[in-house]
């Protein structure tokens, strides 16, 4: 308990420094600003804003990135409630009842409950991270190369199992992602791999370029094909503060959503995605009058929004303690950390405690700031929502070009976001999701390194992965999960969950 408090106070002393406070604020503000634009989800927002953070010091840049992430999430909920365009899977649920409330002129209450619920969830999740960080790190520090390789396999399998859509396609995308990570000079042998003899490829594919291409640019190409139909609420936003009745109805869903989101977010796969769906289903079951759901029930906003935010935050746990990113956002975080010279994993907490605890404390600070930024500025967000897409995407495109050029001053980098964007667009057309590709890409180099090391230690025997007990256990879990996802019955249930 004492170390827990001293760690947190170390964290707050870092996070409350003037510069870091400013960066967290800036991150939240810019994140909300971009995230609120319809059709731009958190992943695209972070990919787009990544270059801005590169010139900062590691702690500052991660604090700002985390701020951008929360900001983009809040922005996404705002869009879901006011325009009925969820920026990503997790705010789909919010759109159901939130938009109905907005149509009835209760948008203000929906936005306020979402913000308050998320703040509560964020505060609890911050404590959960702080409490679990240290023990999990201790476990992870016992891992050797063999265990790490198996752990990464398990992380990737979980990411596949917990995502919607075809398992086969997701596996294929992960493999292609790992394949892309092998492009460039092999560190061990010095051989050039798949560089086409091009000098700028000998360092490998730049992470920011790939991310901005397959998320930023491909997203624009995809959105262009869809005709724009926007259902911006014409009704007034209404009173921002929820009344006593609304508060009474929402506090229990908020607490339940927070618990559920915190637990699901910890799973090393993308458990956070399930949290709002699960919370919505639970609230509907518990409600005295389930027919109200879908027609503007405040519980349908309060629960899922809290679950969403709690999950988003606790999904940092596998990343910070084990170095395993569970979803595309965490993959972007790994990329940003690597560029700053930090290898994510248990050594971050022991080797760089001020960064680790500072980031955790800044999560709470960021949540508080969002509450302060979001509610008074709702009017501005509403006006932003009215900017038509035909004017928005050229601006986004220009920002992407400038951002990526500013990293290395290489025009070839800019060209590559175009190429990767087009490849990403074709993959989307073929029904592949780009997120697993990015996960594979960020883990690829580490996987190869650990596999090599494990095999050197075992003198070339592959059986080392199943004779070492921890590694065998991790692989067994992966196989069982993968098998379960393919077996038709379970799969049907899983698909139903995503359909709902």
């Amino acid at each position: 308990m004492e170390t827990f408090l001293s760690n947190l106070s170390l964290g707050f002393s870092v996070a409350l420094g003037l510069q870091n406070l400013g960066l967290a604020f800036l991150g939240c503000l810019v994140g909300t600003l971009i995230g609120v634009l319809p059709g731009v989800g958190p992943v695209a927002t972070i990919a787009m804003l990544l270059p801005i953070t590169f010139s900062l010091d590691p702690t500052g840049s991660l604090i700002m990135l985390a701020g951008i992430y929360y900001g983009a999430q809040y922005g996404g909920s705002t869009t879901a409630i006011l325009v009925n365009i969820p920026g990503e899977a997790t705010s789909v649920v919010t759109a159901i009842d939130g938009h109905e409330m907005a149509k009835k002129g209760r948008a203000g209450a929906a936005l306020a409950v979402a913000a308050l619920g998320s703040f509560f969830a964020g505060s609890v999740a911050t404590l959960v991270i702080a409490a679990l960080g240290a023990p999990l790190t201790k476990i992870a520090l016992m891992f050797g190369a063999t265990e790490y390789f198996s752990l990464m396999i398990m992380g990737l399998v979980l990411a596949v199992v917990l995502a919607g859509g075809s398992v086969l396609k997701a596996v294929a995308m992960i493999l292609v992602g790992i394949l892309l990570s092998t492009v460039g000079t092999d560190l061990e042998t010095g051989d050039e791999r798949m560089t086409f003899g091009l000098i700028f490829l000998s360092d490998g594919i730049d992470f920011a370029v790939l991310a901005m291409g397959i998320f930023g640019v491909a997203e624009i190409m995809r959105n262009l094909a869809q005709p724009e139909s926007r259902d911006v609420v014409r009704k007034p936003i209404g009173r921002l503060l929820p009344n006593r009745e609304e508060l009474r109805q929402s506090w229990a869903p908020v607490v339940r959503g927070t618990v559920m989101g915190s637990i699901l977010g910890i799973l090393p796969g993308n458990g956070a995605v399930l949290a709002p769906f699960a919370s919505y289903a639970m609230e509907k079951k518990l409600a005295k009058d389930p027919t109200r759901f879908g027609k503007g029930a405040i519980e349908g906003v309060a629960g899922p929004e809290s679950a969403n935010n709690a999950g988003a935050q606790t999904s940092f746990i596998p990343l910070l303690t084990l170095g395993i990113p569970g979803n595309a956002v965490m993959a972007l975080m790994v990329g940003a950390m690597t560029i700053q010279g930090i290898i994510p994993g248990p050594q971050v907490m022991t080797g760089n405690p001020s960064l680790f605890w500072g980031m955790i404390a800044s999560m709470w600070v960021g949540n508080l700031m969002l509450l302060v930024i979001n509610l008074p500025m709702v009017g501005l967000w509403v006006r932003l929502l009215k900017v038509p897409y035909r004017l928005m995407f050229p601006a986004i495109l220009a920002f992407c070009c400038i951002g990526i050029y500013s990293i290395n001053s290489l025009p070839t980098d800019v060209m590559f976001i175009g190429l990767f964007g087009f490849v990403g667009y074709l993959l989307i057309k073929c029904g592949f999701e780009p997120a697993p590709l990015l996960l594979g890409f960020v883990l690829g180099k580490l996987m190869e390194e650990n596999m090599r090391r494990a095999l050197i230690l075992s003198r070339g025997s592959l059986s080392t992965f199943i004779t070492e007990p921890i590694s065998a256990g991790l692989l067994l879990v992966s196989v069982v999960l993968l098998a379960a996802a393919i077996i038709p019955n379970v799969r049907k249930g899983r698909d139903e969950m995503f359909v709902e």
């Binding site: 801005i52 010139s55 086969l168 294929a172 493999l175 292609v176 790992i178 394949l179 092999d186 061990e188 042998t189 051989d191 791999r193 798949m194 640019v217 624009i220 190409m221 262009l224 094909a225 724009e228 006006r383 932003l384 009215k386 900017v387 038509p388 035909r390 004017l391 995407f393 050229p394 601006a395 495109l397 220009a398 070009c401 400038i402 500013s406 001053s409 025009p411 980098d413 800019v414 060209m415 175009g418 190429l419 964007g421 087009f422 667009y425 074709l426 993959l427 057309k429 073929c430 029904g431 592949f432 190869e448 596999m451 090599r452 095999l455 050197i456 075992s458 003198r459 070339g460 025997s461």
Partner: protein, 212 residues
């Protein structure tokens, strides 16, 4: 190429999966061909070729499985996407990278025109990708956005991005301060944007300007 597939073969139930499978197999084949000279090494001393080879086979296997499943299970159709939009976006990005600073591709060297030209080019070419594009709006957007980018990225953040065409920089008198030239030209552009805005009386850009 695969996205234009129009197969109506008998028994084909999921054209999208067929296209995806073919794409995966092609990726695998390309990888194997590119890495044909790399030494796979042995398990106890992995060479540079081992992982790419293993991955390529695995990707190829997934591809084959997808192709097979396309004939067994029914699935999504391939939407015939219009390629014009995506190609214009790529063109815009390439135009930006060719004009931002001198770029040598083979025998050709593009002139470095700087941010002040590259951003409007990217916005106007890229903007045409939308079916609802209106040229005067895009001109206005680029006149408003370019100076904001100049001020934010080059003035405030001090990023090393060329702002003006190289030819123009040479004719500036020595005594002039680069920053003040930047600020003056940014103000001129914003003024021009405001002028066009009021003369064309299209209220669409009002929100845009404030969001910067």
């Amino acid at each position: 190429m695969t996205s234009r597939l129009k197969h109506r073969a008998k028994g084909l139930k999921a054209p999208q999966n067929l296209a995806g499978g073919i794409a995966l197999v092609s990726i695998a084949a390309l990888t194997l061909w590119l890495t044909r000279d790399l030494d796979p090494g042995t398990l106890s001393a992995m060479g540079s070729g081992m992982l790419p080879h293993m991955l390529a086979w695995a990707v190829g296997l997934c591809g084959v499985a997808l192709v097979l499943s396309a004939f067994l299970h029914s699935g999504e159709r391939l939407e015939r996407g219009n390629l014009q939009g995506p190609l214009l976006i790529i063109l815009a990005i390439f135009a930006f990278s060719a004009t931002i600073r001198p770029l040598t591709i083979g025998p050709v060297t593009t002139p470095g025109l700087g941010l002040i030209v590259a951003v409007p080019i990217a916005i106007i070419i890229g903007g045409m990708a939308s079916a609802e594009a209106r040229i005067h709006e895009l001109v206005m957007l680029s006149l408003g956005l370019t100076p904001s980018c100049m001020l934010v990225f080059c003035d405030m953040l001090n990023l090393p991005i060329p702002v003006f065409p190289q030819a123009v920089i040479e004719i500036f008198p020595d005594g002039w301060d680069a920053k003040s030239i930047l600020r003056i030209s940014a103000l001129v552009m914003i003024a021009a944007a405001v002028m066009i805005f009021y003369t064309s009386r299209k209220p669409v850009l009002a929100d845009r300007g404030e969001s910067e």
